[in-house]
Structures are given as structure tokens and as C-alpha cells.
């Protein structure tokens, strides 16, 4: 059985169908991309998986457990992490604090241990700090550790966004346009990070507009258009699909 199964999910807002009977299956360790023109329903699909939206029909299974109606924090606790498209960091906190927030559920001390800050609270903080430092090291964020997120340049904030999702120690990572608006070098760095994350065994679902990147690094590609899956398969196959070419370039191209 696949790690993540999305079965015939339909999501409507009033009379507008954002997703119509979308199905998707992702195996453990895969890097799957979801592409499609603007407004095709890519982010809506991620919102359904991560619990921000609840589809009207269909169901979503993660490791065999149904998460269709779960709230975002319940989904996160099951091991699905998400990096947002429009950076949703905590701007009043430092990079370090943002990443430590992702360790929230791993810091199992109670209010009074926290209030005296001795013993378990201190130990857990230090232990999780060590883990967060590994992520900082991995995402090359060392110079920004103590900087307020609100003061960082856009490209770095995008990286912090991914680092925060990684700090959740997820089994499945959802990346919503992690390379949007980045320079070529920043994109190359990000691709390197994504391939490295995947090499460590984390399943990745990637939404991306840069088709060059998608075709290069994905195991499989899903193409959405007007809320429906119009093609699915290995990158080369999808690129040859006439319906995909039509969706991207228009009829007769």
C-alpha cells in the first residue's frame, strides 16, 4: 500500500469546484511533483492533505490511517510537514526559535517544569536544540541563527520555511513552490537540498512551476488542470502527453 493515498477527493467552494475527483498515490521514499497552470488546484490539494481544507467527497489515507477530517496539528503529529508557498513564518521570532517551534510536540515537559526551567525542561530543550542545529547545518542557515525572521531577505526566508518543515522530522514533506521568486543560484541550492532530503528517505511532494527542475528531479509527475488530474507518470512520458501540452501551451500548439 502506498504511504499516502488520495482517493477521489472533491473540494468545492460554493459552486466552484477546486478539485474534482482527484486521486493520487505516493510510495514511501518517492519524489512526486504536482504541476499545472495557475488556479489548477495544486495548493488546494496540499491544503486537503495537510488538513487546512476538508474535502466534501473522497478520502485521504496516510500510512493506512484516515486523515480526511483531521485538523492541521493532528496531521502534523502523524508525520506530514508542510512548507508554505507564501512564507508563513513567525516574523517576531528568530530563525532558531522558529525551528524550535517545530519541535513543539517533541518537547514533552509540563508547565511547571517549564516554569522552573530545570531538569527535564532544560534537558529536552538542549536535546532538541541539537537536532535543530543539524537542520541549520544542513540548510546552511548558520549565519542567521539568531536573526529575526522578519528582517531576512526573501531567499533566506524561503530556506527557513523548508528548514522549519524539516525540523518536524517528517515522514512526508509537502513543498509548495519552494523555488518561486528565487535566483538561479538559490534555485540550484534548493534543488540540492530537496534531493538530499529525499536521499535520506523522506517522501517529498513538490509543487513547482519551473518545469526544468520538475522534469529533472521527479520520480513521477501529476498534472492538474481545472481541478482534475489530466496526466500522471514519469516525467518524460508526461511531457509527451498531448493533453498536458494543450493545458500549458493551448490548443493547436
Amino acid at each position: 500500500m502506498a504511504q499516502l493515498e488520495v482517493e477521489n477527493v472533491t473540494l468545492t467552494f460554493g459552486g466552484v469546484a477546486a478539485l474534482t475527483s482527484v486521486s493520487l498515490a505516493v510510495e514511501k521514499g518517492e519524489l512526486v511533483s504536482v504541476i499545472g497552470p495557475n488556479g489548477a488546484g495544486k495548493t488546494s490539494l496540499l491544503n486537503c492533505i495537510s488538513g487546512f481544507y476538508h474535502p466534501q467527497r473522497g478520502r485521504i489515507l496516510f500510512e493506512g490511517q484516515e486523515i480526511t477530517r483531521s485538523s492541521p496539528h493532528e496531521v502534523t503529529r502523524k508525520g506530514i510537514a508542510r512548507a508554505f508557498q507564501n512564507i508563513e513564518l513567525f516574523s517576531g521570532l528568530t530563525v532558531l526559535e522558529n525551528l524550535m517551534l517545530a519541535r513543539h510536540t517533541y518537547l514533552g515537559y509540563n508547565l511547571f517544569q517549564a516554569g522552573v526551567f530545570y531538569g527535564k525542561a532544560l534537558d529536552k530543550e538542549v536535546e532538541n536544540r541539537r537536532m535543530v542545529e543539524e537542520v541549520i547545518d544542513f540548510m546552511e542557515l548558520e549565519p542567521y541563527r539568531k536573526a529575526l525572521v522578519g528582517n531576512l531577505p526573501y531567499g533566506v526566508r524561503k530556506r527557513v520555511e523548508v528548514a522549519r518543515a524539516l525540523s518536524l522530522s517528517p515522514k512526508l514533506l509537502l513543498l509548495d513552490e519552494p523555488m518561486a521568486g528565487m535566483t538561479l543560484e538559490e534555485k540550484e541550492d534548493m534543488v540540492r537540498f530537496i534531493l538530499e532530503i529525499r536521499a535520506q528517505g523522506t517522501t517529498v511532494i513538490l509543487i513547482e512551476h519551473d518545469l526544468g527542475v520538475v522534469m529533472d528531479i521527479s520520480d513521477r509527475v501529476y498534472v492538474l488542470d481545472f481541478g482534475q488530474v489530466i496526466a500522471e507518470g514519469p516525467p518524460e512520458e508526461v511531457a509527451r502527453n498531448p493533453r498536458v501540452q494543450e493545458a500549458y501551451l493551448g490548443v493547436g500548439a
Binding site: F52, P72, E97
Partner: protein, 355 residues
């Protein structure tokens, strides 16, 4: 060999050290010296002067609670005085039964925390100004209820007994001194508790909910529970402050816990610096001392004989100065007195270097 007293800047070399509150030895020692100064200070002051310090300490506890709810968690609360009142009326009912004050203080806090929890429930649904209205509703309901309950003398004065501790009686002469030390001890404990929370997941969760509750949800924390926690904890602090205020003024009257007092607490939080720990002490100290000085100034004006027919210049001066100060702060230093404190602190941290 490094001299620990000559530290400038950051000397931390382990993650454990990096969790510490004080950057240098000098900072820790100067705080301890200041606390020592606060311990001996009342010995050199008159009873009325100590009373003003008492007020500053008690309001600091309430403002600290307000900072937890409004400053850190971003949930606007304009009913903090009502939470103080809940604590005070709890004390007015329990203390005459013979309960010692060190039991009444936490009990008053807990009852207030329970009401804070209830008032926080709308915060699961509504935000910003709409939430502020919900807390205002609580303030109104509180005042109305007290005003109609015979049990609470319909808002009239309910006497509070004098307290004693380890055989030490708070009598007429040492009443204000006694409560000075009690309030100081409680303030230090509560401030330290919250300062510790700030470096743990509880403190980070508060700020996360304030900055972005959607993302907080995606971090695996329940934003609703965090908001209720913020309300309950903030109300706990207010409740404790209310009990102390009740003992201090030796009576519980509804006038001490009205909407105007809620606004005063909010003003103290803003002048001190919203969402800062130190601001919770600076704000009350500044506004209370301002109030006293304005009183002195207005007496002087009265004595000098400046008067406009039909207008009491002297008594108009206090609210005028209060309003003016708040407007000036909002215009020129919206980060409050804390920002000045921050500049001074960072200067001394790296002294004798510039940065």
C-alpha cells in the same frame, strides 16, 4: 584565563549555556544588586511613599498578566481589571473565614484563571477587535453582577482582615511595609516563572499564535488550546494582583476594578512596551509616579492661586497628563519604555566597545 567580570558580548559555548537569561555576569549581578536595593528601599521612605511602591508592584503583576494575553499571545483584553476584581472578591469571601493570605492569593488567582478560561472561549472563533469586544462584555457583566449581588454588598465596601505571616502581624504602622515585601516576593516569583516560560515551548507557542496561528497549527500545536492557556494564565496573574490589592486597601470596592482601570492597565502595558517582560514593570512605575507628581504639581498650582473661574485646574491636570503621555508614546515611541531599556542594556553588554 578569561575574566568573567570583563565579559563583553557573547561568550556562550554550549547549547545549555545558550538557554541562560543573562548574557554576562555583570547583568546577573546588577539585577541582584537592584533587588537588594528594593529590599532596603522602604526603610528610608514614609508610609505614603511605600504605599505608592505597593501600588506599582501590584499593578506590575496585573500588567504582566495583560502582557501575557495581549502582548505575547496577541489577544486583545480590555477586561483585565475585571479579572483583578474576581481575585479581589474571592479574597473578600475567603479571607474573613480565617484563611491565611498565602492560601488566599493562589486561590484568587485560580478562580480568576477559571474565568479567564471561560472568557477565552470566544477567541477560538473571533480575533482582533471582535475579541476585544468579548472581553469588554465580560467587564460589563462583571460590574453588573457585582452591583446586583447582595452577597458582594452590591459593590459597596467589603472589609478585608489584616494579615500575619510567621507571627509577624501587619498592623497600622507597618501595613504598607508588610504588603510591600509580600508583593515584591510574589512579583519576583511570577516574573521569573514567566521569564522561564519564555524560553520554553509554552512561551514560543504564545508568540507563534500571535504572529501566525495558521502556521502554528501546522507546527503540531493546537492554537485553540494555546489561546485558552494565554487567557487563563493572564487572568491568573490579574487574580493574584486583585487579592493583593484587596488586602492592601483593606476593603474591596467595585470602583477599583472598573473599565477605567482596565484601560489604565492597558495604557501601562503600552507605555512600558507591549509584549515585553521589563515593560510590565516600567509602565506601571512610570504612570504611577507621573500620577503622584501631577498631584504635587496641581497642589502647587492651587497654592500659587492660578485658577480659571469655574474650572478646577489642579484636578484637570491629572487625566490631562495621563492622556497626553499615552498619545505621545503612541506617536514617538510605540515600542514603549522597554526600547530605551533595551538600548541601555545593549550598550552595557558590549561596553567598552561600540558593538
Amino acid at each position: 584565563m578569561r575574566n568573567p567580570w570583563a565579559q563583553t558580548g557573547n561568550y556562550r559555548t554550549s547549547y545549555r549555556q545558550d538557554t541562560s537569561i543573562f548574557a554576562t555576569h555583570r547583568e546577573l549581578v546588577s539585577l541582584l544588586l537592584f533587588l537588594g536595593f528594593l529590599l532596603v528601599l522602604p526603610q528610608f521612605l514614609s508610609r505614603t511613599q511605600v504605599f505608592i511602591l505597593d501600588l506599582i508592584l501590584v499593578y506590575s503583576i496585573a500588567v504582566l498578566g495583560l502582557n501575557i494575553t495581549t502582548g505575547y499571545a496577541g489577544l486583545i483584553n480590555i477586561g483585565q481589571a475585571a479579572f483583578m476584581g474576581v481575585g479581589a472578591y474571592t479574597a473578600a469571601l475567603l479571607a474573613p473565614q480565617g484563611l491565611p493570605f498565602w492560601l488566599v492569593v493562589p486561590l484568587g488567582g485560580l478562580v480568576a484563571a477559571f474565568f479567564g478560561f471561560l472568557v477565552g472561549i470566544p477567541s477560538l472563533r473571533v480575533k482582533h477587535l471582535y475579541l476585544a469586544l468579548a472581553t469588554l462584555a465580560f467587564q460589563v457583566v462583571f460590574e453588573w453582577t457585582v452591583g446586583h449581588l447582595p452577597l458582594l454588598k452590591q459593590g459597596g465596601a467589603m472589609d478585608m482582615p489584616r494579615a500575619s505571616f510567621l507571627g509577624y502581624e501587619a498592623g497600622f504602622r507597618n501595613h504598607f511595609h508588610f504588603w510591600y515585601y509580600v508583593a515584591l516576593a510574589i512579583l519576583v516569583i511570577l516574573a521569573l516563572f514567566f521569564r522561564n516560560l519564555l524560553r520554553t515551548r509554552y512561551g514560543r507557542a504564545l508568540v507563534a499564535v500571535r504572529d501566525n496561528d495558521r502556521a502554528a497549527d501546522a507546527m503540531g500545536m493546537d492554537p485553540g488550546r494555546t489561546k485558552l492557556f494565554a487567557f487563563a494564565l493572564g487572568a491568573f496573574y490579574a487574580g493574584v494582583a486583585g487579592v493583593l490589592y484587596a488586602y492592601l486597601s483593606r476593603a474591596v470596592v467595585i470602583e477599583d476594578y472598573t473599565f477605567a482601570v482596565s484601560i489604565k492597565l492597558l495604557a501601562m502595558a503600552i507605555v512600558g512596551g507591549l509584549g515585553t517582560l521589563v515593560g510590565s514593570f516600567l509602565g506601571p512605575a512610570f504612570l504611577e509616579l507621573l500620577d503622584v507628581n501631577m498631584e504635587a504639581l496641581s497642589n502647587l498650582i492651587k497654592a500659587l492661586g492660578f485658577s480659571v473661574a469655574g474650572v478646577d485646574v489642579a484636578s484637570a491636570l491629572r487625566p490631562l497628563a495621563f492622556g497626553l503621555i499615552i498619545v505621545l508614546f503612541l506617536m514617538f515611541e510605540p515600542r514603549g519604555l522597554y526600547n530605551w531599556w533595551r538600548l541601555v542594556r545593549s550598550y552595557f553588554r558590549t561596553w567598552p566597545f561600540k558593538y
